[in-house]
Amino acid sequence: MTTATDSLLATQENPYALSHLDALEAESVHIFREVAGEFERPVILFSGGKDSIVMLHLALKAFWPAAVPFSLLHVDTGHNFPEVIEYRDRTVAEHGLRLHVAHVQDFIDDGRLRERPDGTRNPLQTVPLLDAIERNKFDAVFGGGRRDEEKARAKERVFSLRDEFGAWDPRRQRPELWSLYNGKHAVGEHVRVFPLSNWTELDVWQYIEREGIELPEIYYAHHRDVFKRDGMWLTAGEWGGPKDSEPVEQRLIRYRTVGDMSCTGAVDSDAVTIADVIAEIAASRLTERGATRADDKLSEAAMEDRKREGYF
């Protein structure tokens, strides 16, 4: 494994400066190691999206030359981009990791979940997620959430205690001081851990560029059949789109986030390299979620409400 050192800001006057990426990396690695030192059964939520990919990259560095002492968990909505599933399986094999998959489809098939009329399965992930946590007795669950993504997330701690129902109570949050993270929890409770809390979308991309991290191809511009719903370009698929009134057209697009196909919108883009993507984000007047996530638009407090139910 190699690390670029040219980003260290050390100068003649200031030999011990760190670049913002080095400072963020050091902090995230510290968080991974704290969890490894304090918890019995941690797991990394891994969707094949850029944030979870950066998370895994940081975990690999944190424990080098030993293996990452955590397994991975993917909550599979069944509405996946094939490129992402291919990436997921290749990555798991490459690093000799163990992957748990919780299938939303299984829960629909046996009646524990019901398909929503709009076909969106993203909100349905909470039940399989909590089931997997309970069944595997995971006590710490890493998520790639960033505080810059959404205003409810801006209030969330790095170590976020969840009760036996997986619920988040913003009023019961523990104050977090210095770099002293409190992971104490009762049996049945667990802690969500967000090592990328202090990163922004741009930091993530700059880090991907610096570290030369490979991503699923859908993050770069490509031609794809899409249709418009609620102002967003969605990929046609068996999940319930398009309707007759939604004409399909081929466009040059890319994805800023990767989630369930039914609620992740594409953006018009000709960015084919990491540098192109960074330039595009720096000039964008829309936030990542505002541009591409339908589920956040359901209500003003959509994210907070889902988090209270146990969502990430």
Partner: protein
């Protein structure tokens, strides 16, 4: 103005963590809103959401406080729960802003925000000058040893941009903060509403020759003199791959809390007191011969001695491990902290059982008087305590090292974080007598 997020091809900039303090009436939301907005960190969809909600409530202008009040309860009740973190960037620097609510019962929140801050912005209304709240903010910044403090004298537009008004407030504040041990104090006259001296230099205050607030945030020195600090390395995790490729690798993973560590340095492992030398340093997959705070690294030692999570590897003058700790604390929880309480104490990577032997005194944060005879500390109280731990801890004084001098007290019954602790005395200038008052009332 510097609105681009990127400077050079590498995009490398430094990072400043800072906190804001000020009551709602001082215009803190407006100031935060302006910093975010003028640095292009509020994007169209966020602004539209704020406008939509503001209009829905019958307000004519978008309420920028909605940008920072993210939770349902906050919006419904118009209150702010706890610290929120905001992110913005200019061409010169990345910023993490700990936005602390400006309520009367805010001490706990400001302490939380200030714990990681390298700079605190204390906001004052130019019409009111230095008030009780201002002194409280200065005291908390001094208590938490925030290295840099900025006094932002706001609403200069409402005092005709008059220099004498600013000068008098700046002088009074600087004298007070300096007496508490704050080393670097810069005062800036601003109008957050009109935009004077926040991002753009003011056209109304020719008499002011200093930097705008943002310019100061962009240029203030964020790196301490790591070369002169003793190295402190709390061991987080022992890395032993036991693979064919690395059969004998044994590394101690952690984040350097302070100072510089070099291969060949003589070090002491605490609390055992064993001494050895640094045989190798791995900086996240790359071998190096030097590392400095706050890098996360893995250290290999020359001798195979017993080292585990919770130990401290120290170079230079090492702290003497002790079971008796005197500390200044801020109580964070609604449950009263009383003498005789059995708690857990988390210091760096070590958690031990501890007993609250004595609550020596409570500090009146408004007057800085020490009130002895306290039966317990209530939420938001700051006081001095004596603790006895079950195992010896290698603590530095908080005045010397914010990372190895700080700790948490935790309720062993349910894991609740009770109290934030700082080893040693609260302020550099200890006030044991009644203040005579005329300077700061």
């Amino acid at each position: 103005m510097t609105t681009a997020h990127l400077t050079d091809e590498s995009g490398a900039t430094s990072l400043l963590r800072f906190a804001t303090a000020g009551s709602v009436d001082d215009g803190k939301s407006t100031l935060v809103g302006r910093l975010l907005h003028d640095s292009k960190s509020v994007l169209t969809d966020q602004l539209e959401a704020v406008e939509r909600v503001s209009l829905g409530r019958g307000q004519e202008a978008p309420d920028l406080a909605l940008l920072t009040d993210g939770l349902r309860a906050e919006r419904e009740q118009g209150i702010t729960i706890d610290v929120a973190y905001r992110y913005f960037a200019t061409a010169r620097r990345r910023f993490i802003l700990a936005d602390t609510p400006g309520h009367v019962q805010y001490t706990r929140n400001m302490v939380t925000g200030a714990s990681t801050a390298e700079l605190a912005v204390v906001l004052v209304d130019a019409r009111n000058g230095v008030v009780e709240q201002t002194r409280r903010h200065a005291a908390v910044a001094a208590l938490l040893r925030v290295p840099h403090v900025v006094l932002a004298v706001n609403k200069m537009d409402l005092v005709d941009y008059a220099e004498p008004v600013f000068a008098a407030i700046a002088e009074e504040f600087t004298a007070y903060a300096a007496s508490l041990g704050v080393k670097d104090i810069v005062s800036v006259p601003i109008s957050a509403l009109a935009g004077d001296n926040v991002v753009e230099p003011s056209a109304h205050m020719d008499w002011y020759g200093g930097p705008t607030l943002l310019e100061h945030l962009e240029t203030v020195a964020v790196v301490g003199d790591a070369g002169s600090e003793p190295a402190r390395f709390p061991v987080q995790y022992v890395i032993r791959p036991q693979t064919e490729e690395h059969p004998d690798y044994r590394g101690y993973a952690g984040q350097l809390a302070s100072g510089v560590l070099r291969v060949g340095d003589k070090v002491t492992v605490l609390p055992s007191g064993h001494t050895t030398t640094v045989a190798g340093i791995d900086a996240l997959g790359r071998e190096t011969d030097i590392a400095w705070a706050p890098q996360s690294i893995t250290v290999r030692l020359a001798e195979d001695i017993d080292v585990s999570r919770g130990d401290l590897i120290a170079a230079g003058p090492a702290p003497v491990p002790t079971k008796d700790i005197e500390a200044t604390v801020c109580h964070l929880n609604e449950r009263t902290l009383r003498p005789g309480a059995k708690v857990l104490l988390k210091h760096t990577t070590r958690t031990v059982r501890a007993l609250v032997k004595e609550i020596s005194y409570r500090i009146d944060i408004d007057t800085l008087e020490q009130r002895s005879g306290a039966e317990g500390l209530e939420v938001n109280d700051i006081g001095h305590v004596v603790l006895r731990t079950a195992e010896p801890l290698a603590l530095d004084s908080y005045a010397d090292n914010r990372r190895t001098g700080s700790f948490l007290l935790i309720d062993p019954a349910d894991g609740t974080t009770l109290t934030a602790g700082m080893a040693g005395e609260a302020f550099e200038t200890v006030r044991t007598t009644e203040p005579d008052g005329e300077d700061w009332v």
